[in-house]
Amino acid sequence: MKTLMMAAMTTLAMTGAAWADEIKLAVTTSFHNSGLSDVLVPAIKRDLDLEVQLLVVGTGQALKLGAAGDVDAILVHSRKAEEKFLAAGNGTHRREIMYNDFVFIGPQSDVAGAGNAASAAEALSRIANAKAPFVSRGDDSGTHKKELSLWNVADLDPAGFDNWYKAVGAGMGAALNTAAGMNAYIMSDRASWLNFGNKGDLALVYAGDPVLFNQYAYLPVNPDKHAHVKHDLALRLEGWLVSDTAKALINDYKINGETLFVFNAVQ
């Protein structure tokens, strides 16, 4: 019996060794929660024989991992932060790949009447006026930064809000769980919302303002700063991401018949 255990342990210890090329890519939770990565990663493996290891983190952490040289490239959606990342010499360049959009989720009754607003900023003002519970990511992610910029457009400052404004400091899924539990308003990317399994009494209340478009960009980590990063593989992956294969996969990706992403890379 003991020999059997030993044999089992040795096999255990040996699993996980040796594969061809592999690259570490930090992506945002919203991208991963959309399920698109489950379509793209196997296709990349098939076409390029390249194993993409996804690190699913918030935009803030993704940029940090890139700056430290712990990943080979990042795929995020927060333009200002990306430009700062490039200015600091952490990445070689920024390539826009695709976009999706943010939506406002809230209680089905829409107590604040955000659904009838003319713009995203007005929808937020209505929620603030009604003091309806609002869950904020509060984690310095791309989605959080977007939300803050919209409050700014609405001429409101979240720092001065009472306790109807709840910054949970969590990922998209965890924040949606909180909102579902409190029947609160929340801003989410459409993909995470459609894929979310615990909707409760929540519904989509507002969408469509162009300011809510959410541009994803691909940034390879600078090999001059971190000599060990696999820059050639990062460039190969970029070539694939802007190819017609990727274009078709991204544009055809649907959840419940709804298109989520629009490919807009300059080929």
């Binding site: 019996m1 003991k2 255990m5 342990m9 255990l12 210890a13 699993t15 996980g16 570490k24 939770t29 929660n33 990663v41 290891q53 996804l54 690190l55 699913v56 983190v57 430290a68 040289g69 712990d70 990922g171 998209m172 899924g173 965890a174 949606l176 769980n177 579902a180 894929n195 979310f196 399994g197 615990n198 909707k199 971190h226 060990h228």
Partner: protein, 234 residues
């Protein structure tokens, strides 16, 4: 409540159909935690014995610190290990970050204080019984420690199992240093966190039940292999 039943039935379904992903992450959980447990025990058990038999100047302080570190927040350990292993950190050249090895390192740090504290507590009692005998036999420190470790093995097993329990259910540290990469560093606990984030509570619970079942199975196997709780032995 319906999620709970959904989770239970899904757990049974996945177990009996031997779902390939489930088997993979379960084996990886075992691989990481058992390796961490063996390494941590090799450090912590002799340390516990040393603290029991030797009187040195900072002994009290060491014991107090070890006891305090039992409550070490895993996410802090994760962050520290991350900074150490990061490419811009002191051990970056080894490229260990986001590998199972990094997860093992983090878990060793988390459970060494726990195992050492419990081991020391148990061996101290034993030492008070053995003290006069071992001193009068003019034994060396190493011999005393060996005797204590051997004769206290049942209590030390409990210490090790407590360490196993803490490591197998831990998520904060391995999420940071492992990165929860599919087919690479994903284990049961990080998969549970991921599915909870997606709002798929039934699947998250199913994985949770598998984790609990596995912890029970490992404990049973260890008790059976070491023949504890048998008539005439204790």
């Amino acid at each position: 409540m319906s999620d709970l039943w959904g989770g239970l039935s899904q757990a049974f379904y996945m177990l009996f159909s031997l779902d390939a992903d489930l088997v993979e992450i379960t084996l990886r959980s075992l691989q990481v935690t058992l390796t961490a447990l063996v390494i941590a025990s090799l450090i912590a058990l002799p340390l516990g014995a040393l603290l029991a038999v030797r009187r040195f100047r900072i002994r009290r302080l060491t014991i107090a610190v070890l006891n305090a570190l039992m409550g070490l927040p895993p996410v802090v350990v994760g962050l520290i290990v991350y900074i150490m292993l990061s490419r811009s950190g002191p051990f970056g050249v080894f490229g260990l970050l986001f590998t199972p090895t990094a997860m093992i390192i983090a878990q060793v740090i988390i459970i060494v204080p726990l195992i050492a504290s419990i081991a020391h507590q148990a061996l101290r009692e034993l030492w008070s019984d053995y003290h006069d005998l071992l001193i009068s036999m003019n034994t060396t420190h190493a011999q005393r420690m060996k005797t204590l470790l051997w004769d206290g093995r049942r209590a030390l097993l409990t210490a090790a199992l407590a360490g196993f329990g803490r490591a197998i259910g831990e998520v904060g540290a391995i999420m940071v240093v492992g990165g929860n990469i599919d087919h690479h560093t994903r284990v049961l606990t990080t998969a549970i966190a991921l599915e909870t984030g997606k709002g798929d509570f039934a699947l998250a619970l199913a994985l949770g039940f598998v984790l609990i079942a596995m912890a029970i199975a490992v404990n049973l196997v260890i008790h059976w292999l070491t023949q504890t709780e048998k008539e005439g032995r204790w």
